[in-house]
């Protein structure tokens, strides 16, 4: 004890003395606590404690009360309550001792928990951890911060709550900073802080990525980090992505507006150049950088970007904001929108065969802007024109950022794209590094294509700065002259030089461009093709990469001339049919491809392989969520929806060390898996679920993951008008989610075309009458609930087609929210509405992620099934007799015709017949008695190997969790479960049904913990649904309907229903290609 005092800092010693005084009393109470515990043991047979759980509950409560009493008496008002909202759990030996820490907490307004509970504890205090706990930190800490006791001592001496991050346990600290700072519980979230954080968000444009991350005060990212640190639990994540998404689009819009205004302004100023420009063209905005109000590249550098998934919760978003590849990828979509529409009318009917036929006559120009990414940026900075310049996202001379493009003066020094800045600076110390300017790129690319389209009808866009023109049918002007006209125009308009190659095929044109560069043009006429190719190194052929080149060189083939000597067969034998064919024809200058318009993209996706570092499943889930959002946005941008989802993973190779490139992916193995669902979608919720499932199926260590990509293919137009023709085919093979490769028409049918017209109608009338009589499904009877359906269940299409007066009436009943909803849906599609609860799910679910992975991997398809499943499946099915009765709803039984019912009941033993025919609450009794084992076995089969699932065990984990939750509704639920579980574990639907009958006695949830309770309930229901979706939609349907009825009577369940319903529907849609009917 003395030593511990001695080790305290001087500031803290005063207060620790105070606690020392209290120690005796502490000891006493502890003794009392033990005493009472011991005393209750002998009497436990008749005691109020039915089991250990309830005993612990009472004990915890008592300890808490003691603590509170002491706190209220012991706290002198002069002490500042610096630990308000902090609740610690002390693990193991600490200095100062845990009694002292308890005293500090008492004095300074904190809480002290004797027993660990994820719900109440906010910090774990310890000075030493055994290895096993360090290794398995997540299981031990449940995501809570593990902090050294010095944090408390220092906080007291500073008389304010210090950020815990510097006090993190050293054993854990050697890794990178924790993401948990962002994920910590939001129990004590401060609304003011949250709002200030979100409002500081609109941070756009280029952010300079400084590896040294020199911190500049006052910038938004940094201040957010501070805020997060100080409150060490402020949960800001859920709201931010949405807001940023919005601001981002707003920004885009405003930038367009700006550009337009600017455009017209410039038009007046430069009439000369505008003569040359088409109407759609934006004039070269030579001064746009300065006149733009927006923070474009020049305003960059103020914010510090975070470098990995570990540190930055918005990593994915920022990543794509700063990615050149992303720009190129999304550019194509932009191009199609801009140009394809207007040229759509011109179908190149002749392009197919005719070009192939008169291939000899055809002339193709390949045109390429010289060092596009550099020259666009420096086009208006004359002082840089002749200096070596390179584009890179980071200007740190020591950095390992890669140069993405270098201009010709720089190339003269040997600076190349893909080189690290560090190396480039060694080669050329005066090298100027400039950042990307994506807006300028877009502008120049648009101008570039405007010019091309004006001169030629057949333009194939290769990239934003590169295109093929088919000028075979342009007779009135020589291709050389045309090419130079175009090049001059490009130079005049954009200020960037272009090079052109002219050849008889796309291949030759492209090769010619290589000679022409920079700022030149070159024509390889048909006669010179051979001569040109003879000396051409094979490596320069497009499609010949380093591997192929090496292989060829092994065979002593260096040039195309040598390549030509080898027969096609031999090539195909050595390199495969396709590659062989390609080599053979390329070496002869043949290229059968013809210039075609931009093709519909086959797939849309996003991939991140820089800065990807995960620590645990939670990180992964968060990352996937962001990635899915990005993909979903891209899909929506292209107005596409897709059915096949492919997840690509880059995994660090076993022996690969930390990559040379900072945060790069290094040496990786690539894996990919895909899944096809029946209904095409762009819904973020579905994407998230699927990607999660796919990720789970890889079964790999998340720490090894270096890159993740999500690709969506089998695309269809999202536009409902054009959906008809396409979805028809998709419905033909509307098989539920299957991992296997799909065949398109696996539908067989035996058909009978008997139409016994006359006969049928006689009876048809009768049967129809009867149907009308019993319009309500029998099970539903008794529920006279006429409340409005929740807004989320309204069918937008129906709403939109309503006559206006009816709509306004409806709107009235929904309190005016309906119009907003419709506007919102029209404007943005579903996604933004969904995202809040989506991310909530994510947070909640992640604590049991491993479980669901397993669960879903079994349901995902045979390939993924764990080898040991069969064993577990082999659990014997016993006593099927009762099962068959329980599967018969009693309500159904009652609806049976006399004779039939008699028949059915005959099949059951006597005592059971009594139960089921007694009319009062018959279903409960029989389900209670006759719970069939099959369901239970089955659910255990599916999740049996994942012990942390809420539905694992008997009783399932959630029962215990709910019991100790301290929330009346949850306790009630677990009570109901236990009551029903007399003989066998009941189904959720049974529990819900009972809850429905007792819903009146449910207390109204207090507002403050409503949200958490809703989350808890949602979580356990959603897990259940996931378990059942594959095999038992009947049960899901029952739960779905009971939930609905509960929702009408109880506020809590209303919210649960709002959250869970879309989840259920999405899941059903994924597995069954439809939605559950809403009774």
């Amino acid at each position: 004890m003395k030593r511990s005092l001695g080790s305290n800092s001087s500031g803290g010693s005063g207060s620790s003395k105070k606690s020392k005084k209290k120690n005796p009393s502490n000891q006493k109470t502890l003794g009392a606590a033990w005493g009472s515990g011991a005393a209750s043991l002998p009497s436990s047979r008749s005691s109020p404690f039915s089991d250990f759980g309830s005993y612990m509950e009472v004990k915890n409560r008592k300890l808490q009360n003691q603590f509170e009493n002491e706190a209220s008496t012991g706290v002198s008002d002069s002490e500042k309550l610096i630990f308000q909202g902090v609740s610690i759990f002390v693990d193991g030996f600490t200095i100062p001792s845990h009694q002292e820490l308890r005293g500090y907490m008492l004095t300074y307004g904190g809480r002290f928990e004797n027993y660990f509970s994820r719900r109440s504890v906010t910090h774990i205090i310890c000075s030493n951890l055994p290895d096993s706990k360090v290794k398995n930190l997540r299981a031990f800490s449940r995501g809570l911060p593990v902090v050294k006791p010095a944090w408390i001592v220092d906080s007291i001496s500073a008389n304010r709550l210090l950020g815990w991050v510097p006090y993190q346990l050293d054993q854990l600290n050697h890794t990178q900073p924790k993401l948990s700072a962002f994920f910590a519980p939001r129990r004590h979230s401060n609304p003011q802080v949250a709002s200030s954080v979100t409002s500081s968000q609109p941070e756009t444009g280029y952010s300079e990525a400084e590896e040294g991350s020199s911190i500049k005060a006052g910038d938004s990212e940094e201040s957010r980090a501070h805020v997060a640190d100080e409150f060490d639990g402020v949960y800001t994540e859920t709201s931010i992505p949405e807001i940023t998404a919005q601001t981002r689009t707003d920004d885009l819009k405003s930038s367009e507006v700006n550009a337009d205004i600017l455009g017209s302004y410039d038009n007046e100023e430069k009439e000369l150049s505008s003569e040359l420009q088409s109407t759609t063209n934006l004039p070269s905005a030579s001064n746009n950088k300065s006149s733009h109000g927006k923070p474009v590249s020049t305003a960059a550098g103020s914010s510090v970007r975070r470098h990995s998934t570990l540190e930055d919760p918005n990593f994915v978003e920022n990543y794509f904001k700063n990615s050149r590849l992303h720009f190129i990828g999304t550019w194509r979509n932009r191009y199609r929108k801009r140009f394809h529409g207007s040229f759509n009318g011109l179908k190149w009917a002749d392009s197919g065969q005719s070009t192939a036929e008169n291939a000899k006559k055809s002339t193709i120009i390949h045109i390429d802007l010289d060092s596009f990414f550099v020259s666009v940026v420096i086009r208006n900075r004359l002082e840089l024109q002749d200096k070596p310049v390179a584009v890179c996202h980071s200007d740190n001379p020591k950095g390992t950022a890669e140069i993405s493009s270098a201009n010709y003066p720089a190339r003269a020094y040997g600076v190349k794209a893909g080189m690290f800045v560090r190396h480039a600076k060694e080669l050329c110390p005066q090298l100027v590094i400039v950042p990307y300017n994506f807006e300028a790129y877009e502008e120049v690319a648009d101008q570039f294509y405007d010019i091309l389209h004006r001169h030629c009808r057949k333009v194939q866009a290769v990239s934003c700065d590169e295109a093929f023109l088919d000028v075979s049918d342009v007779r009135y002007v020589e291709p050389d002259i045309l090419a130079s006209t175009i090049r001059k125009e490009i130079l005049d308009t954009t200020g960037c030089s272009a090079s052109a190659g002219i050849g008889s095929t796309m291949l030759m044109a492209r090769l010619a461009t290589r000679v022409a560069k920079p700022a030149g043009q070159f024509h390889i006429s048909a006669e010179k093709v051979e001569e040109f190719l003879d000396q051409l190194a094979v490596g320069t052929l497009p499609g010949v990469g380093s591997v192929l080149k090496e292989k060829l060189e092994k065979q002593n083939i260096q040039t195309c001339g040598q390549l030509r000597l080898i027969s096609k067969d031999a090539l195909q034998k050595d390199f495969g049919v396709k590659t062989g064919e390609m080599l053979w024809s390329y070496s002869r200058g043949l290229d059968l491809r013809s210039v075609t318009a931009v093709q519909e993209s086959k797939s849309i996706g996003a991939e991140v392989n820089w800065g990807v570092r995960f620590r645990d499943q939670q990180d992964v889930q968060h990352f996937l969520q962001c990635l899915c959002k990005e993909v979903s946005l891209r899909l929506q941008g292209c107005e596409m929806i897709g059915r096949t989802f492919t997840l690509k993973i880059k995994k660090r190779k076993k022996d690969a060390g930390e990559p040379a490139k900072y945060m790069g992916c290094g040496d990786c193995g690539n894996f990919s898996r895909s899944i096809t669902v029946p209904a095409a979608t762009d819904d973020i919720e579905v994407l998230r679920r699927i990607s999660k499932k796919l990720f789970g199926s890889f079964c790999l260590d998340v720490k090894e993951v270096r890159g993740v990509g999500l690709q969506v293919s089998k695309l269809e137009g999202a536009d409902p008008s054009n959906k008809g023709s396409k979805t028809l085919t998709s419905w033909l093979n509307s098989a539920p989610a299957s991992v296997q490769t799909e065949k398109d028409d696996n539908v067989f049918a035996a058909e009978v075309k008997e139409i016994p017209d006359g006969k049928r109608r006689d009876t048809g009338g009768v049967s129809r009458l009867r149907e009308c009589d019993s319009a309500e499904p029998s099970v539903q009877s008794g529920d006279t609930n006429s409340s409005l359906p929740p807004m989320c269940h309204l069918d937008m299409e129906v709403l939109e087609n309503l006559p206006p007066d009816l709509l306004s009436e409806l709107d009235g009943t929904y309190g005016g929210k309906l119009y907003d909803l419709i506007e919102k849906k029209r404007g943005k599609r579903k996604i933004n509405n969904d995202s809040p609860h989506v991310s909530l799910d994510d947070m909640k679910v992640s604590s049991s992620v491993s479980v669901q992975m397993h669960g879903s991997s079994t349901s995902g398809g045979k390939e993924l099934e764990e080898p040991h499943v069969p064993n577990e499946r082999a659990i014997e099915i016993t006593d099927l007799m009762p099962s068959s009765l329980s599967q018969v709803d009693v309500s159904v039984l009652q609806e049976l015709p006399e004779e039939l019912r008699a028949d059915v009941l005959e099949a059951f033993p006597v005592h059971r017949r009594d139960q089921s025919s007694s009319s009062d609450a018959p279903m409960e009794t029989c389900t209670k008695q006759d719970k069939e084992p099959t369901y239970i076995n089955d659910s255990e089969n599916e999740i049996g190997f994942s012990s942390s699932s809420l539905w694992f065990g008997n009783p399932p984990l959630w029962v215990e969790n709910f019991k100790v939750s301290g929330n009346c509704t949850l306790e009630k639920m677990s009570e109901i479960y236990c009551k029903l579980a007399q003989s066998r574990p009941p189904l959720l639907s049974t529990v819900l049904q009972r809850a429905l009958s007792e819903v009146g006695s449910f207390p109204d949830a207090s507002a403050n913990d409503l949200e958490k309770t809703v989350d808890d309930v949602c979580e356990f229901i959603e897990e259940y649904i996931e378990i059942k979706v594959e095999g038992d939609i009947e049960e899901i349907y029952l739960c779905f309907r009971f939930l609905k009825r509960l929702a009408a009577r109880n506020q809590l369940f209303h919210q649960v229903n709002e959250n869970v319903s879309p989840f259920i529907q999405a899941l059903i849609n994924e597995h069954y290609g439809g939605s559950l009917s809403i009774p």
Partner: protein
């Protein structure tokens, strides 16, 4: 338990299932009131009162449709069996879907009686499922369609020749599903649910 035994057992399960399907399909047709009720007679199957078609051709159609599925079910190829009712312009108005999965690995441990017990509940439920179904339009027809996981090789089996690829019209929108009955006890996972066109389905017949 050797492989052969397991296969035999799968065969058993499949045979029971096919028999069951035959009865169930008949029940569905009866339930829909497609033919006058005099066209059916009461029978007892698995100890439950069921209906059987009197007309030999109808009976034969249903029987052959079900039994010719046997080889495919045994191979685990059949994913769903649908009984589809069409309006007179050949647009489906209602589909009864049997979604089935047989897990061959645990087929061995099941015995015939147990399976029958489990299947019986379907028949009971079907016999009272009338409130769930929609009234039939006039001049309708119906068919049995099987959805296979993959196409069997052409000519690989004689049984397959009775079946023809279908170009059944489909709905444009995901349908609304009403589950009727689920059975999830190894080795058989069987679900019966109804599909109706979604409300927003706009006159697909005109669109086509």
């Amino acid at each position: 338990m050797n492989m052969k035994d397991g296969n035999n057992q799968t065969g058993e399960v499949a045979r029971t299932l096919v028999e069951f399907l035959e009865v169930a399909i008949t029940m569905i047709v009866f339930l829909k009131g497609f033919y006058p009720s005099a066209a059916f007679e009461r029978r007892r199957y698995m100890n439950v009162v069921v209906q059987r078609a009197r007309h030999p051709e109808l009976r034969d159609y249903i029987h052959s449709a079900a039994s010719s599925l046997l080889p495919f079910i045994q191979k685990g190829l059949v994913e769903r069996v649908a009984v589809i009712f069409f309006s007179n312009d050949n647009v489906p108005v209602e589909r009864f879907i049997f979604k089935l999965t047989i897990n061959p690995s645990s087929a061995a441990s099941v015995n015939e009686n147990q399976l029958e017990f489990a299947l019986r509940s379907f028949l009971v439920k079907l016999s009272v499922a009338e409130p769930l179904v929609k009234p039939l339009p006039q001049n309708c027809r119906w068919e049995v369609t099987a959805y296979l996981r993959s196409l069997p090789e052409v000519g690989s089996s004689k049984e397959g020749e009775l079946w023809i690829p279908t170009d059944t019209k489909q709905w444009l929108k995901p349908p609304v599903i009403t589950p009727v009955k689920s059975l999830n006890s190894d080795p058989l996972c069987l679900q019966l649910y109804l599909e109706h066109p979604s409300l927003s389905e706009t006159q697909p017949c005109q669109a086509q």
